[in-house]
């Protein structure tokens, strides 16, 4: 069955249907991940978005449920350059079955190179997966309003523990990837995941050693409750921000953020650690970034940048035990070069306790 990708500026492409037959619309993001399909599809940072994957032969090895980053994917739809028929093993799920089960529509055999070139020129666009490419479809996607409660949709409703015997880490779930908990489990952390709107008093009561503000979807300015909680807690606890959490820490300290013309969505972005000049590869998934302007007035040092476009990728407070990164140190998918930041966080907690 033919289906169409319709952008809000009238650009359309034709492809073949895969997955659910429903119509879907959302913010378009382009990812050139070559691997980690399951992790990409289930990453809650893509909540409400349509992901276009430029790599060929997606799904050639089926879907591996051991690599989910959330039980239910929350992206709106997926665009594939091409998909492959995989040789089925017992209990194995194909990409098509997976998308049908999760009710996510997709289009395959799309000219993703033309799509990427178009987005590169025109910046952030909305897209829909539709049965027609007429004017009506274009008008409909033009009228789409991006939701402002994306974090609320994916954050846990109740707090839950991930018990162990080490440091007690509170993870504020903004749309947390499971790999953050995996990294904490590797390090014996006694972690508790709490909802995005958990109050400072409630977190205080749990007596944490440190707090992680997780990755998540959407505009950080929409999650005012979490920004306020960070303002209240940042003087008392070591903080580690990841992705959306990084932007929330910035906003809690009156830094400015802006939308990038071209977001970073890939497993292969270089990041330079300024102190040592060392370059490591990381998984990125963000369209917002901290502006350079005002960062020093807020007493932050820029610790990491992306050398290809100069975007700020990591900051650290000069006087408080707070650091945060825009990329995903937990990888999944992508390079595990930076998983040591979890060790750094635990070291920071130890030296905060010592001082």
């Amino acid at each position: 069955m033919k289906r169409y990708l319709v952008l809000d500026d009238g650009f359309t492409l034709e492809g073949d249907s895969i997955g659910s037959p429903i119509i879907a619309a959302g913010q378009l993001v382009i990812s050139n991940n070559l691997y980690g399909l399951e992790q990409t599809l289930t990453d809650a940072t893509y909540n409400g978005q349509i992901i276009a994957l430029t790599a060929p032969a997606n799904g050639a090895s089926g879907i591996n449920p051991n690599e989910y980053e959330a039980i239910n994917p929350t992206c709106k739809g997926v665009i594939f350059n091409s998909t492959a028929v995989h040789s089925k093993m017992e209990r194995d799920q194909s990409l098509d079955e997976f998308l049908k089960n999760k009710d996510i529509p997709g289009i395959t055999n799309i000219d993703t190179r033309a799509l990427a070139a178009h987005v590169q020129e025109h910046g952030q666009l909305k897209a829909s997966i539709s049965d027609t490419d007429d004017e009506h479809a274009v008008d409909q996607i033009k009228a789409l309003v991006i939701q402002r409660d994306l974090v609320k949709q994916v954050s846990t409703r109740q707090p839950y523990p991930n018990p162990n015997s080490g440091k007690k880490i509170i993870v504020i779930d903004m749309g947390m990837k499971y790999s953050i908990l995996r990294e904490l489990s590797y390090r014996d952390c006694n972690s508790i995941v709490v909802p995005y709107n958990y109050s400072a008093a409630q977190i205080d009561e749990l007596n944490p050693d440190g707090i992680i503000i997780s990755n998540g979807p959407g505009n950080p300015e929409d999650v005012t409750q979490t920004i306020k909680v960070v303002e209240e807690l940042q003087n008392n606890y070591p903080l580690f921000g990841i992705g959306l959490g990084h932007l929330i820490i910035a906003l809690a300290n009156e830094c400015h953020i802006s939308v990038m013309k071209l977001g970073h969505h890939s497993t292969s972005y270089p990041v330079k650690e300024i102190a040592s000049g060392k370059i490591e590869y990381t998984n990125h998934n963000h369209i917002y970034t901290i502006s350079n302007h005002g960062i020093r007035d807020a007493n932050f040092i820029v610790t990491h940048i992306c050398p290809s476009d100069g975007a700020i990728e990591g900051i650290r407070h000069m006087y408080r035990p707070t650091f945060s990164v825009q990329f995903d140190p937990e990888a999944a998918p992508g390079s595990q070069d930076m998983t040591y930041l979890f060790d750094e966080f635990l070291d920071m907690i130890s030296s905060y306790e010592r001082a």
């Binding site: 650690e273 300024i274 102190a275 040592s276 000049g277 060392k278 040092i301 610790t303 650290r316 407070h317 000069m318 006087y319 408080r320 035990p321 650091f323 040591y340 750094e344 070291d347 920071m348 030296s351 010592r354 001082a355």
Partner: protein
């Protein structure tokens, strides 16, 4: 037999973290002086200095200190107790830098040498490794790695400036 317990990458990361902590606790680096204790402390001090320069764009002065005349087991009555640091440390925030903190006697000697050279505002201590077994009431402000050891063991710090590579071994 020597066993590598910390590799080059981990050592670099520890030095980067010490650098951040120095900025954090000194509320900036304007009044800072790094004093490296010969031999490897000097190289560590230079590595911290280059990180501070990358991050803050300020060159922090680095002095080299030979503590031999100040050692408490130096019985030479003719030893000239004069540490030529080459920089003025009066009213400065001095950070003493050494590779391994063990009994604390080296650090006591280093503090003597600094006091002989002037009156700093404050002296702090940064070490790459704290292996325990202090014999004096001294502790480090900035620690790269805490490595619990027995007195029989030996900690060897290698640095690429004079050794083959960066690593820390225990034997």
């Amino acid at each position: 037999m020597a066993k590598e317990i910390i590799d080059g990458i981990t050592m670099q990361r520890a030095l980067t973290r010490i650098t951040y902590e120095i900025i954090e606790r000194n509320k900036g680096i304007d009044n800072l002086v790094l004093v490296g204790i010969k031999t490897r402390g000097v190289y560590i001090a230079h590595r911290i200095e280059s990180r501070l320069k990358q991050l803050e764009g300020i060159t922090v002065p680095v002095a080299e200190l030979d503590i031999t005349p100040f050692r408490d087991d130096n019985n030479d009555p003719n030893a000239i107790k004069n540490a030529d640091l080459g920089i003025d440390i009066t009213d400065k925030n001095v950070i003493l830098v050494d590779d391994v903190l063990y009994t604390g006697r080296t650090i006591r000697a280093a503090m003597d040498a600094i006091i002989v050279s002037g009156r700093p505002k404050k002296i702090s201590l940064a070490v790459l490794v704290d292996r325990g077994h202090r014999e004096l009431p001294i502790r480090a402000d900035f620690v790269g790695k805490n490595i619990p050891t027995s007195r029989k063991e030996k900690i060897n710090v290698s640095m690429s400036e004079i050794d083959d590579e960066d690593k820390i071994e225990i034997e």
